[in-house]
């Protein structure tokens, strides 16, 4: 167990800047991977975790080069090997499971061929033995009908299946070390939990060492024996998983853990101020100095070394770590948020809304009718009160973003009405809405890189809605822009910046400011924190909450992340295949009795706690379209009771706490089943 299989020694990797300066992305990193051990490398984007992981396979991305140090695999330095020697090690001794299997599988080659290729390169099996082995591997990663699976192309598989194929391919060469680069990021919650479970099983079954790289402490917590925390290209904390997650003694790790929204906590997570320094802008002193609340003058001048603390079996890079020992009961706290006034009037009503993506046939187009009997979104009834935050939750394909687009007028409804203020019907066609209605409903998109025009300065971006809706100009316009920036906690000097000069969090703040510029009544938030790092996500969530409390805005918040939803929302609507499953006050939706789908979702959430294991109650099948009749969840429901589920649409049942569940099983029975 104590045999070291790969060891990184004083590794620095960097690039030459345009000014000819040497800039390091990885600074003096040393760590050891022992046999049979799973090491989680965690850090936010730009921390150098992927660069480190790839270097451990002797792979350095184009443009980068090693500055010093070595990567010893079985005491041979990978960074000094020829590509011929590396070919012998890659796939055979060290194998990689990539982040996005959909893009990492070659599109023109069949699954079977791609696995066979690895077998041919790394084993001596003959053709028939290899064919048998392919089936075996596909079976091992629990893919359905392995025989036919081998003849399919990557694009014919779902995301979770593609990831399993990547795992099978990595296992083909029986590697001693598996390298996993964000292997579950981008998968749906339930799929993610299933793939992680598979990986854990494989680690145990084959005794392979694993390096698991992720930004997601929830996923890391599920698989790792040991955790390495990276910040700005350095290791800041390293130790046994349980110690790191439960008693983090580095202020960054502590802050990171506090900024993760948790299912068990109703309030908002605490955010960490500032952002990670860019490579090249790191000066003397501790790289976390600017964001640290334990920082002293010493931290500004001298950078701490990685210090080994024997009694905790932990390495930490901090002068003041002792202040954090025994401080950690604080981890399970959150910022309470002011709940909305439930007496308020309804501001937006969705009545029997159905939306279809089906292409209209020529004659139907002439008659101006939509003829889809089984629309993507069907029978949505939601009343939204003024000043509340309602969340739409579901996995990909649940129709949550579709509903949002319809409210915004970007997508025509097939049936039903969207009523705004005093039951006035809003046209589902953007062109038919009056300017004031357009102003009143604003949208914030998932990815600020795509929603902000890269050729406009922040000033131009923010002045557009102000000019359009309020005819502002000159000094008044400028004053308003500065006010808006102040509201989202950005200084006046940001006005002249371009989006590319901002960090991810700053960009999303500008997008928030742009939405608020219109003084809207309702803001539609489409996965607004999904593209952000956890610490930044917490800051944006807090900002949104603060603005709502100050201005009384209503949010419709779409997210796939149940913990985020728990933190921000007053009410939650759970969707599956475009049909509502459950709706109610958020504290109740997160308690049983639940709709079976909510139960599945809640079970699959990964908490940054090694003691909370996900419960996998349903298969992670991907359904392409909603069933034509009966309950929308019939295909995957773990509590299906029989034909009635296939034939009849379940009735709404209202529980004691006011959450409504759409299920054939009696709500009290559900409660006792889920105990």
């Amino acid at each position: 167990m104590n045999e070291i299989i790969e060891s990184v020694k004083n590794l620095s990797i960097g690039f030459n800047s345009q000014k000819g300066k040497q800039i390091s992305i990885l600074r003096n990193v040393s760590t050891n991977i022992k046999k049979g051990e799973t090491v989680g490398i965690v850090g936010e984007s730009g921390s150098g975790k992927s660069t480190l992981a790839l270097a451990m396979m002797g792979y350095i991305k184009q443009g980068l080069f090693p500055l010093k140090g070595e990567c010893l695999f079985k005491s041979k330095d990978l960074l000094k090997m020829s590509s011929r020697q590396l070919e012998k090690i890659r796939g055979r001794k060290i194998a990689m499971i990539p982040q996005n299997a959909g893009q990492a599988l070659t599109p023109n080659l069949k699954i079977g061929y791609q696995i066979d290729e690895a077998l041919k390169l790394h084993t001596d099996l003959n053709k028939t033995e290899r064919d048998k082995k392919i089936s075996e591997l596909l079976n091992k990663v629990r893919l359905p009908s392995p025989e036919t699976m081998a003849f399919r192309y990557p694009h014919e598989l779902s995301g979770g299946q593609q990831q399993r194929v990547a795992v099978a391919m990595a296992l083909a060469g029986k590697p001693d070390l598996l390298l996993l680069d964000e292997p579950t990021t981008g998968l749906d919650v339930t799929t993610q939990a299933h793939v992680l479970e598979l990986l854990r099983f494989i680690a145990k079954d084959t005794g392979t060492s694993m390096i698991y790289v992720s930004h997601d402490l929830g996923a890391i917590a599920q698989v790792s024996d040991r955790i390495v925390v990276m910040y700005a290209g350095e290791i800041v904390l390293e130790g046994p998983a349980r110690k790191i997650l439960k008693e983090p003694i580095h202020p960054y790790t502590y802050g990171l853990l506090k900024s993760i929204p948790k299912l068990s906590l109703a309030g908002l997570p605490a955010s960490m101020p500032g952002s990670q320094p860019q490579p090249g802008s790191i000066n003397e002193g501790c790289s976390f100095y600017d964001r640290c609340n334990l920082a002293t003058d010493n931290c500004k001048k001298n950078s701490p070394d990685l210090e080994h603390i024997k009694e905790l079996d932990t390495n930490v890079r901090c002068f003041n770590y002792k202040e954090l020992i025994n401080q950690n009961n604080n981890l399970q706290t959150s910022i309470t948020k002011k709940s909305n006034n439930s007496e308020a009037n309804e501001v937006l009503k969705l009545k029997d809304v159905s939306i279809s993506y089906a292409k209209q046939k020529f004659f139907d187009q002439l008659l101006n009718k939509i003829s889809d009997q089984n629309p993507t979104v069907k029978d949505i009834n939601i009343d939204i009160k003024k000043g509340e935050t309602i969340a739409l939750v579901g996995e990909s394909g649940s129709g949550k973003s579709t509903i949002l687009k319809s409210i915004a007028g970007l997508l025509k409804t097939k049936d039903g009405q969207i009523k705004f203020e005093n039951d006035r019907i809003l046209s589902s066609d953007l062109k038919m809405r009056n300017p004031n209605d357009l102003r009143a409903i604003q949208l914030i998109f998932q990815n600020p890189d795509e929603s902000l025009n890269p050729n406009h300065t922040v000033e131009q971006i923010l002045s557009q809605p102000l000019k359009l809706y309020f005819n502002l100009s000159g000094e008044e316009l400028k004053k308003n822009i500065i006010d808006l920036l102040k509201k989202v906690r950005l200084g006046e000097f940001y006005m002249s910046r371009y989006p590319r000069q901002l960090s991810g969090g700053e960009k999303q703040r500008v997008a928030v400011a742009r939405a608020f510029a219109a003084k809207p009544d309702i803001i539609l938030c489409d996965e607004v924190t999904s593209a952000l790092d956890v610490s930044v996500q917490a800051a944006v969530l807090n900002l949104l909450q603060q603005l709502k409390e100050d201005l009384g805005t209503t949010y419709v918040f779409v997210s796939h992340d149940l913990a985020v939803v728990r933190a921000i929302s007053d009410r939650v609507a759970v969707l599956y295949q475009g049909r509502l499953c459950e709706i109610g006050p958020s504290q109740n939706v997160y308690k049983f009795p639940s709709h079976p789908y909510t139960e599945v979702l809640l079970g699959a959430v990964l908490e940054p706690d090694p003691d909370i294991k996900p419960k996998l109650v349903a298969e992670d099948i991907v359904e392409e379209k909603p069933p034509e009749k009966g309950c929308s969840f019939q295909g995957r429901c773990p509590r299906k009771i029989g034909d009635i589920c296939n034939l009849e649409v379940p009735p709404w049942q209202i529980g004691e706490n006011g959450n409504a569940i759409r299920c054939h099983i009696n709500i009290d029975e559900l409660a006792s089943l889920q105990q």
Partner: protein, 318 residues
């Protein structure tokens, strides 16, 4: 799949129908008709009437169109005015000559372009890339009529290695043609090859940067195997359509080059028949060139469809 092919072919036929209508209407709308151009100064009185009668120009235009179109479908383009001989006889050898010229250019140009594109992409920013890229960009910028003239000046006049002008009858044998077409082929394929090589280069570079190529490297696939199995099929796929467009576009180059080298092909016929106002021949040529254009693009579309597993299964599922 079959349905899709039929659909594409149908669309191609509709395109040809529209082209034929446009050329026919264009000829009708032009001032003067076949007789006035043919008779020139004698276009009056009895001679004109007789001519109109003989060519059937007194029949209403739509009837003449139907008549002409049904003949074309049967492969009969009617009579040329200037030579008073069947257009098919005029066209036959010309089409053959041009086809020889074009296909030799394509057969040399495409493989060369692919090889050059791959070399420049794999040795990106290194010596081979810099050298080849400089040459391709240079030859891309020179129009055919200049490069053709320069070739004649250097190879034919200064060095005296090859004949400067093609002096062969239009019904020359294939072998006679081959020895004469070296310079025209070089002139035509220069631009085409350069364009395609650039296209292949950027396509290969893009694929080399993809996640699946990184994955193949990390899987331990040897370099050249990776290039041939993982990179090229995916990089050349999008190039097919561009190649088709380049070939269609090459038709224009053929016209110019043929005139410069005095080559007895379709291109020279286009120029000749236009300056002679031989309208039936112009019409016939328009249809033939349009068919080639449509045909090549159709083949390219179908090839992409067959070779791209993603599109193929998408179509089958529908």
């Amino acid at each position: 799949m079959l349905l899709l092919i039929l659909k594409r072919i149908g669309l191609g036929l509709i395109t040809l129908f529209i082209v034929s209508l446009i050329t026919f209407v264009g000829v009708e709308v032009l001032p003067g008709d076949a007789c006035t151009t043919y008779l020139e100064r004698e276009a009056y009185g009895a001679a004109l009437d007789a001519c109109i009668k003989r060519l059937g120009l007194d029949i209403p235009a739509y009837e003449r169109y139907l008549d002409w179109a049904s003949n074309v479908i049967r492969g009969d383009f009617g009579y040329s005015l200037s030579g008073e001989m069947p257009i098919n006889e005029v066209l036959g050898p010309r089409v053959k000559n041009s086809l020889v010229l074009a296909s030799v250019s394509i057969l040399i140009g495409i493989p060369l372009a692919i090889v050059l594109g791959i070399i420049t992409a794999l040795w990106r920013d290194k010596f081979p890339d810099i050298m080849i890229s400089t040459i391709t960009i240079f030859s891309m910028t020179i129009p055919e009529f200049i490069s053709a003239t320069l070739l004649i000046l250097i190879v034919a006049i200064w060095l005296g290695w090859l004949p400067g002008i093609v002096i062969i009858p239009s019904d020359a044998t294939f072998y006679e043609l081959l020895s004469n077409i070296i310079l025209p082929v070089v002139a035509i394929s220069m631009i085409m090859t350069a364009h395609m090589a650039r296209m292949v280069r950027s396509s290969v570079i893009q694929v080399m940067a993809s996640d699946y190529v990184q994955m193949a490297i990390l899987k331990g696939v040897p370099y050249w195997k990776m290039v041939f199995r993982h990179v090229l099929p995916n990089a050349l796929l999008p190039a097919i359509n561009v190649v088709a467009l380049t070939i269609a576009w090459l038709l224009g180059g053929v016209v110019v080059t043929e005139v410069v080298f005095n080559y007895p092909g379709l291109g020279r016929l286009v120029i000749e028949s236009i300056s002679n106002r031989d309208l039936p021949v112009v019409q016939a040529l328009a249809i033939i060139l349009a068919s080639i254009y449509v045909g090549i693009n159709l083949i390219a579309d179908l090839m992409t469809l067959m070779l791209n597993p993603r599109l193929k299964s998408l179509q089958i599922r529908k």
